[in-house]
Symmetry: C2
Subunit: 127 residues, 2 copies
Amino acid sequence: MRPAKPTLTGQELEIMKVVWKLEKATVRQVYETLLERRRIAYTTVMTMMNILEQKGYLQKQQGDRAYVYQPTQPQSQVIRSMVREFVDRVFNGSAEPLLAHLVEDRHLTEKDLDEIRKSIKSARKSR
Amino acid sequence: MRPAKPTLTGQELEIMKVVWKLEKATVRQVYETLLERRRIAYTTVMTMMNILEQKGYLQKQQGDRAYVYQPTQPQSQVIRSMVREFVDRVFNGSAEPLLAHLVEDRHLTEKDLDEIRKSIKSARKSR
DNA sequence: CAATACGTACTAATTAATTAGTATGTTTGA
DNA sequence: TCAAACATACTAATTAATTAGTACGTATTG
């Protein structure tokens, strides 16, 4: 049996992104979307989506003709736990060094930090 | 042939962390260190370290008895590119949403942000 | 020096990840 | 209606990742 919430692998994440974007989608819809970027077989997408269902990330229901899949969790929540795992794995759980790296890489500006500062304050209020 | 700088996988990163810590190390040293945390075979460590050498992350030289392995790149540099890849993969390259997640997760405090702010300023000066 | 520990090369087993084919049944439009 | 398109279930091939075993040689030490 598969564990309850196994991590999303690379290709699985790609598919989830499409489904989140579309809110709900058939295999064909996802297939068409992915085709715009690269060559892939219809059945490959189907297999992946079924695995995602087994993993608990997607839910399917009978639609007009084909199954319609939809995410079981919002994107933000899933990504949050991916970040948490990454921080655990790479930085042993502390986010600060990650920040340092982001800054060094010039991905972050002072303006970004102001944004963040604000959001911290409001988060604190709502606690 | 292997690509020049393939990404580090989970277990490979664990081994690299040990070697970075020790600065240079034999298979046995890494093996002993990993043993403290979990059961693993000596040859497993050796295999992994040889793969890391093929991938260009480690360099080996003949030591007194055994080969001595050392990192070809500093930890900070490797981790920086792991962060970059993660940001690309999960956030399509923009770091800001990553920040938002870190904050929401309360991994980040205002104090952290002050630290970062300072480091941005000094980075700017040295540009 | 002989037994034991150590080191390396080579091989291999297992599992996960990725991609896709085939068989078969349903729907639909010309 | 019937051929083409579509859908799904089932199976499978390929590659990567992870873990480890075996054979064999060298070093060490009691």
